[in-house]
């Protein structure tokens, strides 16, 4: 009944036995115990469950766990480098990019996916990149500002390194 699934989660190889009907969000939250990604609508409309598969944002409620065989999955728990927060997380903190925090893990991962493809997005492109994520608190303005700020910080960091 259960099948063995091998995949990478936040850089760590995992081998787990899962039922075919288990969704990726259920595997991550209920079986592995990472509760960053949230179950909001459970229908691919709210983005609270957003994780990255091979660097691209997906709704993890709409993926069967067995579908990530051999793939690399990132959740919000993998964003920080040890105690050092990711620039996106720092910007969300500094710029007030969250209130209740329920949508934040999904917002951060959607933003990460956007910045992977487009390191210097315009406000319009950020809005477009977040179109799959709902927030019921802040009205989005500070979230969008935070992502814009994070992109600037990352550009500066990248500049310093090179």
């Amino acid at each position: 009944m259960k099948k063995i699934l091998s995949f990478t989660l936040n850089g760590q190889p995992y081998e787990v036995a899962v039922k075919p009907k288990t969704t990726l969000i259920e595997l991550i939250r209920d079986e592995i115990g990472l509760t960053g990604p949230k179950i909001g609508c459970n229908a691919g409309a709210c983005g609270a469950c957003t994780v990255l598969i091979d660097g691209k944002a997906v709704d993890s409620c709409s993926v069967l766990a067995l579908q990530v065989e051999g793939h690399s999955v990132e959740t919000v728990e993998g964003l920080a480098d040890g105690d050092k927060l990711h620039p996106l997380q720092e910007a969300f903190l500094d710029d007030g990019g969250y209130q209740c925090g329920f949508c934040t893990p999904g917002m951060l991962m959607a933003a990460k996916s956007l910045l992977n493809e487009n390191p210097d997005p315009s406000i319009h492109e950020i809005r477009h990149g977040l179109s799959g994520n709902l927030c019921r608190c802040t009205g989005y303005v500070r979230i969008i500002d935070s992502i814009h700020d994070a992109a600037q910080r990352m550009k500066k960091e990248g500049g310093e390194k090179s």
């Binding site: 983005g47 691209k56 709704d59 069967l64 067995l66 579908q67 956007l114 477009h128 799959g132």
Partner: protein, 292 residues
């Protein structure tokens, strides 16, 4: 999750998929093909689809290719909407399909959902289908007896109904290169700009000869408004050979609206859709001509 259990298999070749489907059909086992999952997963959750076996086709490399073969572009059924948006080949030769794919769902949905899934799910509101209709795309179905190739307009029979057999797999969507003179437009009307299901959508491609001041050819398809996707032939006829003028556009809009009512009958939405389809056709044709 509360839905019933199923068996899961992820074949590595299309031949294995077809064989699995054939055996399931023979034994009377309900099998569903899983592509991107953006339609199937909600159906499983709602209990509207209750497979005994799910056949995941995401591990078959050949279904993910986009390649030019002579005068055609071959797009594997597992190519995602996001890939249609970024593919240089698709943007160059079938730009209207890129435009349509860009309108689907959200980034998260476009990264999962596939062209093959959008076609086989056969929602009357699917965004890629009107684009495929005006591109005169063909569908390659692989079954136990071999392949058959169908025109995209012959594939759909009714909303969510197609001619695909239980033991057949859609492997490729083949797009003949449209004449380079063509200018294309895709429009979508929905309740909001993102993550919305089309109330109406439209794909249009045409060539307007500026010297002769006539429409040389026109291809028009309006989605979400007819029981199965068809070309708006009456509107096309109203344009071909005519000059670009307000009267001609209005006539084309009227013809499209009348054809829609003829095909769909009078429905509760007709009072809204009839004037809107006319305006949408006029807007799309004007935009395509203005593209030069």
């Amino acid at each position: 999750m509360s839905y019933p259990a199923f068996r899961y298999t992820a074949p590595r070749t299309t031949r294995e998929v077809v064989e699995t489907l054939r055996i399931a059909k023979e034994k009377g086992i309900r099998a569903n093909v899983l592509a991107g999952g953006t339609d199937l997963m909600p159906q499983l959750r709602e209990g509207t689809t209750t497979p005994e076996v799910v056949v995941d086709i995401s591990r078959i490399p050949v279904l993910k290719r986009i390649e030019r073969m002579g005068n055609e572009i071959r797009i594997g059924a597992m190519v995602t909407h996001a890939e249609l948006v970024t593919s240089e080949l698709v943007r160059e030769y079938a730009g209207v399909l890129s435009e349509a794919a860009k309108m689907v769902g959200s980034p998260q949905i476009r990264n999962l959902g596939t062209l093959g899934g959008n076609v086989v799910n056969a929602s009357p509101a699917a965004d890629t289908i009107p684009a495929l209709v005006i591109l005169e795309a063909k569908l390659v179905l692989k079954g136990p007896e071999g392949e058959r190739i169908l025109s995209v307009t012959d594939f759909f029979t009714a909303p969510y109904q197609t001619v695909i057999e239980a033991d057949e797999l859609l492997t490729d969507i083949v797009v003949p290169l449209p004449p380079p003179s063509g200018r294309a437009v895709f429009l979508k009307l929905a309740r909001r700009k993102a993550v919305a299901i089309a109330r109406m959508n439209l794909a249009c491609m045409l060539y307007y000869d500026r010297q002769k001041e006539t429409f040389e050819w026109v291809r028009l398809c309006v989605g979400s408004s007819t029981p199965r996707p068809v070309r708006m032939t009456e509107a096309e006829k109203a344009l071909i050979g005519k000059p670009f003028s307000t009267e001609v556009l209005q006539e084309a809009g009227r013809a499209a609206a009348e054809q829609m009512v003829q095909l769909s009958g009078l429905r509760s939405s007709t009072a809204y859709k009839k004037p809107v389809v006319g305006d949408l056709v006029m807007r799309a044709v004007r935009m395509a001509v203005e593209k030069g």
